[in-house]
């Protein structure tokens, strides 16, 4: 095994991992504000990708406006989802809400299939497709876009949670909903924002990776699963943890394929993840926190 091969594996892993990281961010945002796991998170990524292709190919928007428009649309969908499906039962148990998000994800997937079709679709790469050589390995320029956008997202989120009132309020309401209400935080409004926000983040992720991996109506399932695993690995609730978890998961998978075998890659990366969980039950960077009551 040559060094340049290993470097290629790592780079490929980081590329795939950034998709997971983005999805994990979405999970974290909603979890932070509401304590629930949004099973429809993967669908937001899918919608970002497919809707931007629709705007670009069918409505003939230029590339960047198509992407922005798609992100806005998905954000609205996220907000609508919250108001229609989550809000009516906002005080129910976590498991009830999780089933609602499961139903929501099936609904979104099914409707998207009917409206936008079953075939995979692609966007052109943002700045051309010629790969860049790096230490004997090749990087797609789109991957650099993904890295850049991920980094920007993480930094902005950190600022948001630590330094803005809204961000701090979100964290407070996740820690203790009742106490948050007592100090005057409009908790249900926050839930709405967190869903819309998380949908937007998911959509951004979807838009920026579609040129590399193509969007298709059923891509949300696997992406959601890996995103969830990444979020757990990094520590549920920690945005930086989520992204790092995603990257780590991606690299783990790549190395498993490269060094061991492709068929077992999921098994191997999951085993590693589970081992981490058994040693550090709150994930790598998670803070031990109480369950939502």
């Amino acid at each position: 095994m040559q060094l340049s091969q290993i470097i290629q594996f790592v780079i490929s892993g980081l590329t795939a991992g950034s998709v997971y990281g983005f999805t994990a961010l979405g999970f974290t945002i909603i979890f932070n504000a509401t304590g629930i796991i949004n099973f429809a998170q993967g669908e937001f990524v899918m919608l970002g990708g497919l809707i931007s292709v629709y705007f670009y190919q069918s409505l003939k928007f230029p590339l960047f406006p198509a992407c922005l428009a798609a992100i806005v649309v998905v954000m609205i969908i996220g907000g609508l989802f919250e108001r229609l499906a989550i809000y009516p039962r906002r005080n129910s148990s976590v498991i009830t809400l999780i089933i609602i998000t499961i139903g929501g994800s099936i609904f979104i997937k099914g409707s998207t299939m009917r409206i936008l079709g079953e075939d995979p679709m692609a966007l052109p790469a943002f700045s051309g497709g010629k790969s860049i050589a790096f230490l004997g390995a090749a990087i797609q320029p789109q991957a650099i876009w993904v890295a850049f956008v991920t980094l920007a997202a993480v930094i902005l989120l950190r600022i948001f949670y630590q330094h803005t009132i809204l961000g701090k309020a979100m964290k407070a309401s996740a820690d203790n909903r009742e106490a948050a209400k007592i100090v005057g935080i409009n908790v249900s409004r926050l839930t709405l924002y967190s869903f819309a926000f998380s949908a937007a983040i998911g959509a951004i992720g979807g838009v920026v990776v579609t040129p590399m991996i193509m969007a298709v109506f059923d891509m949300g399932g696997m992406i959601g699963l890996k995103g969830f695993a990444a979020a757990i690995l990094g520590g549920l609730g920690n945005p930086i943890g989520s992204v790092l978890g995603g990257l780590l998961l991606g690299v783990l998978e790549s190395l498993s394929v490269g060094i061991i075998s492709s068929g077992y890659k999921d098994a191997i990366s999951l085993l590693v993840l589970l081992s981490v969980l058994f040693i550090r039950p709150s994930g790598l960077f998670g803070l031990a926190r109480g369950e939502r009551t």
Partner: protein
């Protein structure tokens, strides 16, 4: 006095059993076949309900145990030519054993982390189903699994299978009920209420959690075995995460807090896609809508929800 108590306890199940026994006389083969799948799902759901509703844990990998049961039976009867009953035994033992191995480390985790652990193990087992193809036939699966037979009698028709599956289901239902009403059941409910408090009272929570996890896996293994001999063909697809999620949905929609909920949920979520056939390509969208609406209007599930409706109606009468 004693007789009175037993009668009361078993009367509802007896009525259910009676209805189920008479049903095949009134329904077509097609409906009987669907009801067989309802029964298989009910067995799966009952096990999971014990784990989720009573012990308060979660398993997002339950379809894997279903698969272990199915593959164990299939491999024993096709590759090694053993009898169906040995295959059945293998299914029970293997699913229980693997549950023990997985449960011991996993059940120390809580909430979403436990969910991830069970999900992870479920996925790993799915990968094994696909990759160990010399044993499992890989993605193409195993064909020509023999039907179940007792002596010279072979279970071939839908009606035969119906009675077999529901007979086993009722038996397992009774077992579940007994557990719920026993010391174990009370310990589980204490555990569900507050693990720390239960421990303070001297309840060995780890032991009980693992025991119920193993039991729920055994239920799933039994269901898997029945499935394999029913369809005579298995591949990894029915035993993946998607189906684990369907099972959790069945339990929650039916009503986690009651074992009846598991049965109700199985009926509704197995029959619903069949009713929705008329909608062709739209059947999945409507299914999802019904799921969401059910949770919005009856967040505790169907059984508590309907019971609540009845209670309110009663109060309204002068």
């Amino acid at each position: 006095m004693e007789h009175d108590g037993i009668l009361r306890k078993y009367l509802p199940i007896a009525i259910l059993a009676l209805v189920l026994a008479l049903l095949p006389l009134f329904v077509s083969n097609y409906q009987a076949k669907i009801l067989i799948f309802v029964g298989i799902n009910a067995i799966l759901a009952m096990g999971l309900c014990l784990l989720m509703g009573y012990a308060g844990q979660i398993s997002l990998g339950h379809a894997a145990f279903y698969g272990i049961g199915a593959y164990a039976s299939a491999i024993m009867t096709t590759k090694y030519g053993f009898s169906v009953w040995l295959g059945f035994l293998a299914a029970i033992l293997l699913s229980g054993l693997i549950a023990l191995l997985i449960g011991m480390p996993s059940l120390r985790l809580k909430g979403h982390y436990l969910a991830m652990a069970t999900l992870g193990f479920g996925e790993i087992i799915t990968v094994l189903f696909v990759e160990t193809d010399t044993l499992t036939g890989g993605p193409e699966g195993i064909v020509s699994i023999p039907p179940i037979s007792i002596g010279k009698f072979i279970f071939t028709t839908s009606q035969h299978y119906y009675y077999l599956v529901w007979g086993i289901a009722i038996l397992l239902f009774v077992i579940a009920l007994n557990i719920i009403h026993s010391r174990v059941g009370r310990a589980l409910r204490a555990l569900h209420g507050s693990e720390i408090a239960a421990q303070a009272m001297g309840v060995n929570t780890s032991k009980y959690k693992i025991q119920i996890f193993v039991l729920s896996a055994v239920y799933a293994g039994i269901a898997g075995s029945l499935y394999a001999h029913l369809v005579n063909f298995i591949n990894p697809t029915p035993f993946t995460l998607t189906y684990s999620i369907v099972l959790v949905t069945i339990v929650v929609i039916g009503g986690m807090s009651s074992i009846w909920g598991a049965v109700a949920g199985s009926f509704v979520l197995t029959l619903l896609p069949e009713y929705l056939r008329a909608f062709q390509e739209y059947n999945l969208i409507i299914y999802a809508l019904i799921l969401v609406l059910t949770m919005i209007f009856m967040p505790q599930g169907l059984v508590p929800g309907v019971a609540g409706l009845f209670a309110r109606l009663r109060f309204r009468q002068p």
